[in-house]
Symmetry: C2
Subunit: 285 residues, 2 copies
């Protein structure tokens, strides 16, 4: 792979560009973003060799990385069917909602294209090219959900991102969407809801926003995430998320019942189970 | 105040001792803990001048700080009625559940004692003397809920903790318990429930505990908190917590309905509201 085109140079797209530049300084990185501030930043910081249109970049690249919101990824896969790509061009993406994206990729694959789904497991509540970084993504899990890429193409793509030191995990679309709805969508829905519960209470009690300490701040940090992106994710992955919310509701109800009944054993069992599971994640960091 | 007795030298009690030692190196600090490792650590690190029994320490001190779990604080207030304290001795505590503690203090006050409730707003999932620190508490809010201390006694107590640079807030027991159930009890109940929802899912999907990224880890950090302490808090503050849980359940149901109906406007409104409220706390840090 000697040239890459990245469509969408926000937090993730720009971080991927940084990783490719660090891994393979010889590769020509082309890019496009609807926000001219992002492209200007990327060119100025030598993270982008060429700013191109979607069409021109896609037709010149050995690897096309779709790094926009999910609905635009789906539109792009449709548009790519009608472009004359390089014969062995690999198209990949970084979006959540892999079932939906792989469905949309079917038509593209049937029209002769090659697709490998991808999803790096990290992010930030910040947005835009300037806030991306190698460190934000590095050392994290990178899910791969294959459409029809050959083993060789998958390996070439992994090599392109070598400096990211990713923990690549090949999963099915169903596995991906279930895992991500548990470890990402549900915590976001819960953090938004926690803020929307606590904030009116504190306002009514006239409590200064500086009063809450580290515990609450950590628990709700991801509630600062981008509302446009999360509306899009909740809309495209609603069924998975609702399933997770309903499991959560059931568990919260059980804890509430234990508290109501002053059932100390049940409370302690529940807290200890949570504590051990969380400690296991801490130890695995 | 020339001498202080701290009953309970765990995370909070030992941090208070550190703050007093930094503020007033001339004050004699006495202490007691059921765990001999805690008292040994404190003496060895010159954070404690004398290890005493509960009775001896209480009778010799100008200020008695009850820094044990809530149920022991309540027993201690009962026991203090029968001890011959110094004439102007001030008794204070660091427990949550201020309504319950101030109720228990009534009898002590009626027997001639002086009580000022207190609650520093910080903590850690770690426990024990060795994990306490000035920094853990410093610069945070310290709620004061007065029983019958004079203005002068309140000021003397604040001066004793001067190096903590606390944001002291005088509130009623009701105000305290409502604020703390919103900013501390609810987030803990939610973090425990989140772990107990996600962990079995990840086990069933065979996902390694190293896969979850920063978002989930931050959201559930407080789920590593001490199970004994949190069982005790949930038991003693159950009514307040249940009220908060029910508000949370209502808000979560509203978000779920918006997702089910693909009501993007409602989702975006809810996320934006959460995001702004959380950003306000971030800016106030």
């Amino acid at each position: 792979m000697e040239s890459v085109f990245i469509n969408g140079l926000g937090l993730i797209g720009s971080s991927i560009a940084r990783i490719i530049k660090a891994t393979r300084p010889d590769v020509i990185v082309m890019g496009n973003d609807i926000n001219p501030q992002n492209t200007a930043f990327m060119v100025e910081h030598h993270l982008l060799d060429q700013q191109t249109s979607f069409e021109a970049g896609s037709q010149k690249a050995d690897c096309i990385i779709l790094a926009t919101p999910v609905d635009i990824i789906i539109n792009s896969l449709e548009a790519l069917k009608y472009l004359k790509l390089k014969p062995n061009a690999l198209v990949t993406d970084v979006g959540s909602s892999k079932r939906m994206i792989l469905n949309a990729a079917d038509d593209f694959i049937n029209s002769g294209g090659t697709f490998l789904g991808g999803h790096p497991m990290a992010g930030s509540h910040l947005t835009g090219s300037a806030n991306g970084s190698v460190n934000m993504l590095a050392d994290h899990t990178y899910f791969l959900v294959n459409g029809n890429a050959t083993k060789n193409q998958v390996n070439q793509f992994k090599a392109l991102l070598g400096s990211g030191e990713f923990n690549f995990q090949l999963v099915t679309p169903d596995q991906h969407d279930q895992i991500v709805s548990a470890i990402s969508y549900l915590p976001h829905a819960i953090a938004f809801t926690l803020m929307n519960t606590i904030s009116p209470e504190l306002k009514a009690l006239n409590v200064d926003p500086s009063v809450p300490a580290g515990g609450l701040l950590d628990t709700t940090r991801i509630a600062m995430s981008d509302s446009k992106m999360w509306t899009s994710i909740m809309n495209s992955s609603g069924d998975d998320l609702i399933q997770q919310i309903e499991l959560f509701e059931k568990n919260l109800k059980a804890l509430k019942t234990a508290i109501k009944r002053h059932d100390n054993d049940a409370m302690k069992r529940s807290i200890t189970m949570a504590q051990r599971a969380r400690q296991e994640m801490e130890d695995a960091k």
